[in-house]
Amino acid sequence: MIAFILRRLVQSVAVMLTVGCIAFLLFRYVGDPVNNMVGQDTSLADRALLRQQLGLTDPAALQFARFLGRAAKGDFGVSYQYARPVGEIIAERLPATLELSIVAALLALAVGVPMGVYTGLHRTGLLSRLVMAFSLIGVSLPTFLIGILLIVVFSVELGWLPSFGRGAVVALGWWTTGLLTASGLKSLILPAITLALFQMTLIMRLVRAEMLEVLRTDYIKFARARGLPNRLVNFGHALKNALVPVITITGLQLGAIIAFAIITETVFQWPGMGFLIVQAIGFADIPVMAAYLMLVAFFFVAINLIVDLLYYAVDPRLRIERGGGAYGL
C-alpha cells in the first residue's frame, strides 16, 4: 500500500516537473520579460542591469530551480496585463472555476450514472432509446452552442435565469462563494448545465456500455443462478463491477471539466480562471499563462492520484498479497 502510494507520488512529481519545465520555457523564452517590464525609453544599459538583477543572465538550470521554488510558493511573478502578482489574481479567480467545475462534475455524475445504469438494464425500452438519442446530441453539439442555446431560451426568451456573471458572492476568508446567495445559485445553473452536459452523456454512455459488458459475464449469470434478487445482482454485483473502469475515465473527465471551463466561462462571462486565461492569451500575458498551465496540470495530477487510490480501494485484485496463501493449492 505505502509502496504503491509512494510510486504514484514519485510519478506525480515527475509529471509536475515536466509541466514546470514547459511553463518555465514559456515564461522565460517566449517574449522578453525585461521588455515587458520597462518602458520604451529605458536605455540598453539599464535593461542589462535589470536583466542581471532579475537573474536572467544566470545558467538556465539555476533559473529553472528558482522558478520552481517560487512556483511551489505560489509566486509566478507579475501579470503584464494587470501589473499585480499572478498568484493573487489566480486566487481571486480560482473559487469561481472550482465551484463551477465541481457542481458540473457532481451534476454529470448524479445524472449520468443512473441514466447509464437504467439504459443498460432496460436496453430496448422506449425511455432508453429516447435517452440514447438525446445523449447523441449531448456528445455532438459543441459546448459553446449549447451554452448559447440555453441563454437564448432561459435568459432571453423566458427571462428566468441570468445569462452572465456569478451573481452575488459571499467571502469566506480568501474564498468567495456563490453557493450561499439566491442570485449566485441562479447564475450557476446555466453554466453548470452547459459544462456538465458533455461529461454527463459521456459518463452515461460509458456506464451503459460497462453495464452491458458486465451483465454478460459468467459471475452475473452465476449470481442469478444462485437465486439472488435482481436488485442485488444489478446493483451489488453488476454496477459495482461496471464502475471500476468508470472511475478512471470519470476522474480524467473531472480534470477535463476544469480545462473545458474555459469555453463555458467565456460564453457566460463567468469570472473564473478560464475567462482569465482567454484574456491573458489575448494580451500575451505569459506569467498568467504559465501559472494557469501549472495549476491545471496540478489538478490533473491530483485527480489522477485520487483516482488511483480509489481504484485500489475498490478492486481487490490490485492489492498485492503479502504472506503465504495466495495462489496456493
Binding site: T217, D218, Y219, K221, F222, A223, R224, A225, R226, G227, L228, P229, N230, L232, G236, H237, K240, N241, V244, V314, D315, P316, R317, E321, G325, A326, Y327, G328, L329
Partner: protein, 325 residues
C-alpha cells in the same frame, strides 16, 4: 423409476434472429428422479447448455422456450413469473458453470458471496450465515477455511475456485444441480478430484444432478443414466451401462467408439466423419443422416421419434424397422 423430480416434455427452444427463427432445441423429453445423476453428452452445439439454461429459467434472450413443458417436483416451472422462478433458483435447483475462474464476482470475498446466497435462501442472520459458509467451505475441502473465507476469488487456484462454486451451488441444499461441464476449464490433474467431490456431496445429500460433460469416462463413473444429444434433440437415452456398452443409435455408437481415459480432450475421440450441422442448416429427416453409415431412404424424408430401442430409447429408424418388420 419413482416419481420424477424433473420432467422435461417436448421442450422446444427457439432463437429469433435477423434471418429467421432458429429452432435450437426440438422435442426434448427426459426425466430425472430424486437423487439420480443424468449425464448429458453430445458434440459442441448440440444444445446441452441450452437445455440446462431452460430448466433453471436462465435462457439468454432472444432464446426462449417456445413449446413443451418443464415440471419440477410435481409443478410446472417453465411458465413461472420471474420472482417465483428466482425463489426456485439456488434454493431448489442449483447450477455450476463451466468456468470457475469467471463464475465468482472478483470484487467480493468468497465469504460474502456465500453469505449473501445463504441469507437469501435460508434467512439466517449475519453470524449464522458466516458459520454456515465456514461449514460449506469445510465440506468442499477448502483447507484453512477460517482464513480463506475472507479472501477474494483471485487468491484461489482454479480447482479451489470450483470448490467454492460447488459450495455456492449447494449452499441451500437444492434438490437438483445442473452442472454444465464443471471440469472442462480445469487442469486434467484436478478434474478427477472435482468430479469425486461433486459425486460425494450430491450422494450424501441425495441431490439429483444433470451433468453435462464431454467426458465419457466421467459419465461412466458418475451417471446413472445418460442422454445423448445431437442437433438440438435427444437421440438416445438410457442407463449408462446400456448406452455405453450397447449403444442403439449410430451416433452414440460413434461417440462410444473409444471411451477416453479420464480427462482426455474430447475433440479427438469423435470417430464420426463430418460435423454437426449448424442450427440454420439442420437437414430434414434424421438430422444425422448425412453422417450415418446406415442411412436409408426413410432417414432422408422422415424424422425418427425417440422410441424404445433395446434396453434404452433411441431416435433411429433402424429400430422402428426392426420393431415393425
Amino acid at each position: 423409476m419413482s416419481q420424477p423430480l424433473l420432467e422435461v416434455e417436448h421442450l422446444r427452444v427457439e432463437i429469433p434472429t435477423r434471418r429467421g427463427v432458429l429452432t435450437a432445441l426440438d422435442d426434448v423429453s427426459f426425466a430425472i428422479a430424486p437423487g439420480e445423476v443424468l449425464g448429458v453428452v453430445g458434440e459442441s452445439g448440440a444444445g446441452k447448455s441450452l437445455t440446462g439454461a431452460a430448466v433453471i429459467g436462465l435462457l439468454e434472450p432472444p432464446a426462449r422456450v417456445a413449446g413443451g413443458r418443464i415440471g419440477f417436483a410435481g409443478r410446472r416451472i417453465d411458465d413461472l413469473a420471474d420472482p417465483a422462478m428466482r425463489r426456485l433458483r439456488g434454493k431448489e435447483i442449483g447450477a455450476i458453470f463451466q468456468d470457475p475462474l469467471t463464475s465468482l464476482d472478483p470484487l467480493y470475498t468468497i465469504g460474502s458471496q456465500l453469505a449473501e446466497t445463504i441469507r437469501v435462501h435460508l434467512g439466517l442472520g449475519r453470524a449464522g450465515a458466516r458459520r454456515r459458509a465456514l461449514e460449506l467451505l469445510n465440506e468442499v475441502g477448502i483447507p484453512a477455511p477460517e482464513r480463506r473465507i475472507d479472501q477474494y476469488p483471485h487468491q484461489f487456484s482454479g480447482g479451489m475456485r470450483q470448490r467454492v462454486v460447488i459450495a455456492l451451488a449447494l449452499a441451500a441444499n437444492p434438490r437438483l444441480v445442473i452442472a454444465d461441464e464443471p471440469t472442462t476449464a480445469l487442469d486434467v490433474s484436478i478434474q478427477a478430484q472435482i468430479i469425486a467431490l461433486l459425486r460425494r456431496l450430491t450422494r450424501e445429500h441425495g441431490t439429483a444432478v444433470m451433468l453435462v460433460t464431454h467426458d465419457m469416462g466421467v459419465i461412466a463413473e458418475t451417471a446413472d443414466r445418460v442422454a445423448v444429444m445431437y442437433a438440438g434433440r435427444i437421440v438416445e437415452i438410457g442407463a449408462v451401462r446400456d448406452v455405453v456398452l450397447r449403444p442403439q443409435h449410430p451416433y452414440t455408437a460413434g461417440l462410444m467408439g473409444a471411451i477416453p481415459v479420464l480427462g482426455a480432450r474430447r475433440e479427438r475421440l469423435l470417430q464420426i466423419d463430418g460435423a454437426m450441422p449448424r442450427l440454420g442448416a439442420i437437414p430434414g429427416g434424421c438430422a444425422f443422416h448425412p453422417r450415418c453409415a446406415h442411412a436409408f431412404d426413410r432417414c432422408r424424408s422422415e424424422r425418427p421419434e425417440l422410441l424404445p430401442a433395446g434396453p434404452s430409447a433411441a431416435a433411429c429408424w433402424l429400430h422402428a424397422e426392426a420393431d415393425h418388420g
